[in-house]
Amino acid sequence: MATAADVELVGVVKRYGGTVAVNGVSLKIPGGSYCCLLGPSGCGKTTTLRVIAGHEQLSAGDIMIGDQVVNGLAPVERGTAMMFQSYALFPHLNCVDNVAFSLKMRGVKAAERRAKAMQLLELVHMDRYAERQPAQLSGGQQQRVALARALITNPRVLLLDEPLSALDPFLRIRMREELKRLQMELGISFIHVTHSQEEAMALSDLVVVMHDGLIQQTGAPREVYNQPTTEFVARFIGGHNVLAGELTAQDGAHSMLRGPGGARLRVPRLEAPVGSKVTFALRADRVSLARQAAQHRAVGADVAAPIDGNRLAATVASIEYQGSLVAVRLKIDGVDDFSVHLPEGQFYDDPVAVDEPVIVTWQPRDSHLLH
């Protein structure tokens, strides 16, 4: 098997006529890591992948694989292999011949290339179906064959374009595990394009969140989820509320804000002049919810002036049962969208109802300032 190689993008730009698909992306993916390019459709993630693969020419910038600049090289010369979104298995060839295709192109003898193809099919547990045509395979089986076909070239980097999007949810999770297992076994880099933040978090060592042809944030999944740096990332990865306010004063380790509806909110200290606009993210599972009446009883009448925690008055807009947690969506004046995720048990101890007035509270340390 091939050795792992770092992939480095420096100021990569891809234009199609007047539109810019990738607008200056710089990124270093260490060899042997699982990297997910994550973003909504049209964010430039697939174009970035195709540029790395050599299926699109660069408009500007450089791409390095290992210590070699690969701009302008054909895909095979790069040591990359790509798995296409629809798998693109050749419909006229059976599984073995699909997998053996690249060896055939190199003039390897039939017996030898079929033997090698069978090894790869065993690797993905598809050797039993070697003689079948692609049309006789399920989505998951097709994907395994496509994987075997891509891996037979001993690539240094495997590029996967939305590999799981064609599968049904149950199978998606199983194939996800399989991809991770293969990546660890082979020890090469997988670069995986996806629009599912769940998939990216489950798989990657490195998540690259993209938006409008630019990288928004790069980091380990846990880092990105715990410290989203931009409003886009906080909203896209989910589980976060985004709030905004105006800086009114500094108070030790905290900055004071005038938040939605004039509420006074505390956030971790931010070095900025008074009057600047501040946006911060708040994890939906770090927010507590209480009935307004109960809250009055619990902490007295001092609702407007919290000592340490933050609080906002709200009305319950909708309640969604999601199994281990319950998502409560709230209406708060001056905030577009605010959700609280409560553990199932906790919610049903004292369930609130739709249209009920409530109070949400959280600690300043659970909010993260956004750029």
Partner: protein
């Protein structure tokens, strides 16, 4: 269970369909029956006995015309047209996938010959050969005339084929190290092969029964349709029906062999089982 009542439109459409089938197969059946006319029978009903007299007669030297010579020319011409149509349509189809300079103009020039009346094309080619002092022949002027008919059709079919062709196959081939030529040879060609067979059959049949375009460009020796037309105006015997029955039987045989081959191939594949559409 309450029985479902058929709507009125069902009966209207069924009648139209029945008429269509009648018009399609009625003449073939009529000719089939009449070709077994007795030795004293004529071109029309009633049947005067039943015999294979006219089939035997077909293989005798004819008093008028040269059926077998014409048949020989026609199938050779059809074959040449078939090969040229397949090769040129495929290559043109590949070319038109990329927008090249003047592609729109070229397309209109090519399909214009579909709009022009066949006889005019034929006359034009005949007149041109006359003007240049070239001899008209079935393998030169008539071949050209036939190609003006089959090439636009072939090209239009290839347009439809390549419209549905997933470019990811070509990218996958490139990704796996195939050269441009290898991509065409090992990926594009096998995938579109069934359509090319369609283009081939189309090209052959269009040429094989082409009358108008051959009429002024065919030269001294007749092709089969011209020969039949001549016979029809002169001949008074059902030998022409015998020929019709024989050629139809030949076509049915070819189609049956193809269908059986396809069925056997499908059976073999199906024996390997399928998980298509299953969540595994």
């Amino acid at each position: 269970m309450p029985s479902e009542r058929r709507s009125r439109s069902f009966y209207v459409l069924a009648t139209i369909f029945a008429l269509f089938v009648l018009f399609l197969y009625g003449p073939i059946l009529t000719i089939l029956v009449l070709s077994f006319q007795g030795p004293d029978g004529g071109l029309v009903f009633p049947m005067r006995g039943v015999s294979v007299h006219w089939f035997v007669d077909l293989f005798q030297p004819q008093s008028i015309g040269d059926i077998w010579g014409a048949f020989d020319r026609s199938w050779k011409l059809g074959l040449i047209v078939l090969v040229l149509t397949v090769v040129l349509s495929f290559l043109a189809g590949l070319a038109f996938r990329r927008r090249f300079k003047g592609s729109t103009l070229l397309f209109y020039v090519v399909v214009a010959s579909l709009i022009m009346p066949s006889v005019v094309v034929s006359l034009g080619i005949g007149a041109l050969f006359e003007l240049l002092g070239w001899e008209r022949n079935w393998w030169s002027s008539a071949l050209g005339a036939h190609l003006t008919w089959t090439l636009p059709f072939g090209l239009l079919i290839m347009f439809a084929v390549f419209n549905r062709f997933n470019p990811a196959y070509e990218e996958a081939a490139r990704d796996l190290g195939a050269s441009g030529f290898q991509t065409v040879r090992y990926v594009i060609l096998p995938i579109v092969a069934p359509s090319l067979i369609g283009v081939a059959l189309f090209g052959f049949t269009l040429s094989y029964d082409e009358l108008a375009r051959t009429s002024q460009s065919g030269g001294a020796l007749n092709t089969l349709p011209l020969e039949l037309q001549a016979m029809q105006t002169n001949a008074t015997t059902p030998v022409i029906y015998a020929l019709g029955t024989l050629t139809t039987a030949l076509s049915v045989l070819v189609i049956t062999v193809c269908l059986v081959a396809v069925l056997i191939l499908q059976r073999r594949r199906a024996a390997l089982g399928s998980d298509a559409g299953r969540g595994v």
